[in-house]
């Protein structure tokens, strides 16, 4: 497809008139689409990637979120177990951590407008992340964009959008760590030391690993740290 532009003097006059007509049209009836933000809020979809909240009951301390974070924004701190804390000075809201969480302990909210007083406050720990941050809501309207071939307009509704909704529930998959190649095991006991739930022990006499399935949460720390890669996560029904 070839594009070209040629204009004679008369065309230029017509173009001038077009400009003036359009400007007057907009001045009289503007196609304005302003969302007056603190007073109105745009409705965001359920999959919106916003501030992350944490559910301590679901967390299995698997460190996956801290490991996958491309910005190194997640730091694990020990409370009852090791729990993640997000540093919002670094977070880029890619939500790889949320997608990585095997139990749905991390989930997104629709909150995207938080002001922190200092840089230090932006570093949230797990306890601060248990609840969605409190907002001073000034909005009384929710605005949605409506598009159709006739154009684009705003639809105002006198309702308040709930921002901290549960949005996606990860289908629970129970996994346990299994030693698949006992012959190659060095007996280094790294897995025993690392296991946060004391689920692994070494049977000296039989010279083999004992993994208690009822204690194992399937966090996979032993799997990732095994120098001989003899451990594996297996799904159990």
């Amino acid at each position: 497809m070839k594009v070209e532009f040629k204009a004679r003097r008369l065309d230029l006059l017509r173009m001038h008139l077009d400009v003036i007509r359009e400007a007057f049209k907009q001045a009289v009836a503007p196609d304005r689409v302003t969302v007056e933000y603190p007073r109105e809020r745009k409705k965001y979809p359920a999959n919106f990637r916003g501030i992350i909240v944490f559910d301590k009951d679901k967390c299995i301390s698997c460190f996956r979120c801290a490991h996958i974070c491309p910005a190194n924004a997640i730091q694990m701190t020990f409370y009852e177990k090791a729990w993640p804390g997000i540093d919002y000075t670094k977070c880029i809201f890619c939500h790889f951590c949320v997608d990585s969480c095997p139990t749905g302990a991390l989930r997104s909210t629709k909150i995207h407008d938080i002001a922190f007083a200092t840089m230090g406050e932006m570093k949230l720990n797990a306890v601060q992340m248990l609840k969605a941050p409190e907002l001073t809501r000034e909005d009384s309207f929710t605005v949605e964009y409506v598009v159709d071939p006739q154009g684009w307009r705003l639809e105002k509704k006198a309702e308040i959008d709930e921002l901290a909704l549960e949005q996606f529930i990860i289908p629970e998959k129970r996994r346990v760590s299994v030693c698949v190649d006992p012959e190659s095991c060095l007996g280094c006991r790294l897995c025993v030391e690392l296991c946060p739930n004391d689920a692994i022990s070494v049977d000296r006499k039989a010279n083999k690993l004992n993994i208690l399935p009822e204690k194992c949460t399937g966090c996979g720390i032993c799997v990732r740290n095994c120098p001989m890669k003899v451990l594996e996560l297996k799904e159990v029904k």
Partner: protein
């Protein structure tokens, strides 16, 4: 025209020595001996972006421009060597955040190339829609910057207003307004429902309607035409010689588009045209991109109409259709076989090249080479400035849509 010269001895100003200019002292002296003048445009100038242009002018006419890029160099290639393959996805989008899907796509395709992944059809269509949305967004952004360079503030506001619909489409699809990190090796992160695709389908018509207002007020504005026409001309021969890419190459009459030459994703299954112009001046560079927006809208409509069902993530990656909850298991441990994998992708501003060199055993790239279009057409941009007036610098700058963060990487 007779040149009138007054012989006034001029000393090169002291400040030119202390500004760490990438030009030798002799060059400065030669310029001042020849009755010429050096103007430093940028990096804090309102019409330069994050780059310094050292402009050698004789009177009002530009003799030569030496670019001094690198003010926003973020060492993306080096950082990529320290991150997992999948962690690099947000990183490679950063050079041009409006164009994130295209840059993301190029990188992911290089990984898929290395791992021999088969991408499901539905994912391919979704990727095409994303890439084209980002292309429209970038072209609108560039049009806005061009118009504010010409002092047309309405032309600045309209494309940004229209771009809101693109952002809304992206947020509905991916959850983020830009830098969506949505394309992952083997497919996309999640399926997109039919309601959202329908919304985007109607949004394309709304965009088209709004663009008509923009056309009357800016594209077909006689003052804009006067500023851009016959300014910064690159002939077909020159454009090829200087290695210009993308819409700027097509504006000089070369019919080359990676999407047609080596089709990827769903580009060979939809019907669209390469937009070409013959003049090679600033206005045709702008017109080509305006018409590419129309073509992109056409592609998006076809993709949404013809999108097949099925999975959005390859069987080789994930058994289910949703990677949520298993992202770490399935993707963190990616190790590419030893070798070099290169892909060529048509981003909004031209072809972007990704080369991954893998040693076959580590889970980070041994080397990642990124060549963004901005870097490729910088030479052509500098050459097209020669012989133009100083006031045209901004017009040509805007017509190339040069984006320093993209070029500097």
């Amino acid at each position: 025209m007779k040149e009138i010269a007054i012989d006034v001895p001029v000393e090169p100003p002291k400040e030119l020595e202390s500004l760490f200019l990438p030009i030798p002292k002799e060059y400065v002296e030669e310029v001042y001996r020849n009755d010429e003048f050096l103007i430093l445009v940028g990096p804090q100038h309102p019409g330069s972006g994050h780059m310094r242009l050292i402009v050698r002018v004789k009177g009002d006419v530009i003799q030569e421009v030496i670019p001094d890029p690198g003010y926003v160099h973020r060492a993306i290639e080096k950082i990529a060597e320290t991150r997992l393959y999948v962690q690099n996805i947000p990183l490679v989008e950063r050079p041009a955040i409006m164009d994130s899907a295209n840059l993301n796509l190029g990188y992911v395709r290089a990984i898929e190339d290395g791992m021999d992944l088969e991408v499901p059809e539905r994912a391919k269509y979704l990727r095409t829609i994303l890439a084209e949305l980002c292309r429209i967004g970038t072209h609108l952004y560039d049009a806005a910057i061009l118009s504010v360079f010409l002092g047309h503030t309405t032309g600045f506001m309209y494309p940004f207003g229209i771009r809101e619909l693109i952002c809304e489409s992206l947020v509905k699809m991916t959850g983020a307004r830009f830098t969506s990190s949505f394309i992952i090796p083997g497919g996309v992160r999640r399926d997109v429902s039919k309601e959202i695709l329908d919304w985007i389908y109607s949004a394309t018509f709304a965009i088209e309607k709004r663009l008509r207002s923009f056309e009357r007020l800016f594209i077909k504005n006689p003052t804009v035409v006067a500023r851009l026409k016959d300014v910064g001309v690159l002939s077909k021969k020159e454009a090829i010689e200087f290695g210009v890419v993308g819409p700027f190459l097509r504006a000089s009459g070369v019919e080359y588009d990676v999407r047609k030459v080596e089709p990827y994703e769903a580009y060979d299954k939809v019907d669209w045209d390469i937009v070409v112009a013959d003049d090679g001046d600033s206005y045709s560079r702008f017109l080509v991109r305006v018409n590419e927006v129309a073509q992109s809208l056409k592609i998006i409509r076809q993709c949404i109409a013809e999108i097949p069902g099925g999975k959005v993530i390859s069987d080789q990656i994930c058994e289910g259709n949703d990677i949520r909850g298993e992202f770490f298991e399935k993707l963190a441990g990616i190790v590419l076989p030893a070798g070099e994998f290169t892909t060529l992708t048509e981003a909004a501003r031209g072809s972007v090249i990704y080369t991954i060199v893998s040693d076959g055993e580590s889970n980070v790239p041994y080397r990642l080479r990124v060549v963004t279009p901005g870097w490729l057409y910088l030479r052509g941009f500098m050459e097209s400035l020669k012989g133009e007036r100083l006031a045209d610098l901004q017009a040509i700058y805007g017509s190339f849509g040069y984006f320093p963060p993209e070029a500097d990487r």
